[in-house]
Symmetry: C2
């Protein structure tokens, strides 16, 4: 039986653009509950400017208050050296350095050119010491401002950051523009560079393709994915569209396909309800309406 | 470039359990508009008892009033000989004979045993003369009453109906219980029996897997799919869950994957809005919220 590792990104990408403030104790309750649902990797927060992402302004406090489960890898997004220093001080197990494959998106999101981001990455890797640095390559499947992103450009960036010392890569479909065919192509390339444990698929469900893309990546050999409780998240450039792949729906897809996720679906669902109530965002997960496929209905 | 044929099933499976009556002239407007969007196969209605499916009670009238486009194949669901006779009288291009792989579901849905359905199929094929008979095998990926349906049983039924003279087969995930792995397995088996032009994937999005399943089938060589405008439809045993694969979202997925659908997405969207307004059902299609992936957003 194959196994996939699904990283929960609820507390970072899920909350990132949610307007309603979720308190640090509420975030802590989610962070502490996730390992009990079988989650083995958690993206806890983002060490960035509180002005840029007010909803994650408590990054340092949240990280210091989170009781670490020894079975869980705690990662956090960092956009620059300053963020990496904070993440290292907060004893994160991994730094998740983010930049965009698209100049326009990198500029809009991080106020840097790609070259400037790469210069930051060099310093981050140097500062990280033994802490692994994952690189999250945003807009790898398309940019909301400039459209298509050439796969050859994405592959060149993956090669470059590997030369610089990145341990692993996340292919991020930041605004849900990627097709399953695109995912197959870039996943193959990423796996050939970083291997099975070094490639994560980060798919958004903006156009309903998060699970199709996850399956396409899986069939190419991808074994690591990001997802958020309730499908929380969104894209400021596609209002009303749903956000991250739903953790519950993705776990369900893999489980009914005979792929081990280690996740407890029944335990995840109340947690998804909790984050939806805290954020007052809708539950995007289909499981909440239909229940899992193997729950038998009484004949009507 | 590969090509897929997506059959529009809005006027049959889409409307089947919708409580609000859609008038024959309104249905006709949809039927006449679909070919202008590039649709080349339409499931127009179901020739069944008006008591069983009141929303399709105008089957004979709708079929006789539909101006046939010579480029389009018009098919209709038939559950028995009586339905087939009506469909033949209405000059349908194909009869789509339906029964379930699950005894419990066949009984609930058609008030027949599988053996009785097969006896009806024999008479339907005999009455059909030169008109091709497709077999839609419901609950091929799971039954809402009895759970898992053994793939070997489904394959045996596919073989049996082929021996009886069925031209082609639709693998129907009637209540959205199938996984991509299930779809791969049965699509392979179906293709080996019926060939590329003889296998249709009919997927419901109850648990968010319609597009993942369609892609899984495509990668195995499946080239024919069913879908409904706005993702219309539903399952009486999974209230609130969405229904058929969305025609717009499926066409979008294939098109951005470089697969030809012949469909005009821009023309389909107002039609989806029209059927949603007529039925007062929600538009499930993600494209209506997010727009296609290649529509560029202005930088904010």
């Amino acid at each position: 039986m194959n196994t996939v590792l699904i990283t929960d990104v609820t507390l970072r990408d899920g909350l990132q653009i949610v307007p309603r403030w979720v308190s640090t104790p509420d975030k802590l309750r989610i962070a502490h509950a996730l390992p009990h649902c079988g989650v083995r990797k958690i993206e806890l927060t983002s060490f960035t400017s509180p002005k840029a992402i007010p909803s994650l302004a408590d990054a340092d406090e949240l990280a210091s208050l989170t009781a670490r489960n020894p079975q869980v890898c705690y990662t956090a997004l960092v956009p620059n050296l300053r963020g990496a220093q904070r993440a290292l001080a907060a004893k994160m197990d991994e730094l998740n350095f983010v930049f965009s494959a698209s100049e326009a998106h990198n500029q809009a999101n991080l106020r840097m050119t790609i070259a400037q981001s790469l210069a930051q990455l060099e310093q981050v890797i140097s500062a990280a010491g033994g802490t692994p640095v994952n690189v999250s390559l945003s807009t790898a499947f398309g940019c909301p401002f400039t459209g298509a992103v050439a796969p050859a450009h994405v592959i060149a960036l993956m090669q470059e950051v590997q030369r610089m010392g990145a341990s692993s890569i996340s292919l991020c479909d930041t605004t849900g523009m990627g097709s399953p065919a695109d995912v197959e192509r870039l996943t193959q390339a990423a796996l050939s560079l970083y291997g099975e444990q070094g490639v994560t698929g980060h798919f958004h469900d903006t156009r309903g393709l998060a699970l199709a893309n996850a399956w396409a990546a899986y069939r190419e050999g991808g074994r690591r994915f990001d997802a958020a409780l309730a499908g929380l998240g969104g894209c400021p450039y596609a209002p009303g569209a749903s956000g991250n792949a739903s953790l519950e729906d993705m776990a369900h897809m893999f489980q009914i396909s005979g792929v081990n996720t280690g996740l407890n679906l029944e335990a995840l669902q109340p947690l998804a309800e909790e984050i939806a109530a805290l954020t007052q965002e809708p539950i995007q997960s289909r499981l909440h309406k239909a229940g899992p496929a193997y729950a038998l209905k009484v004949c009507q």
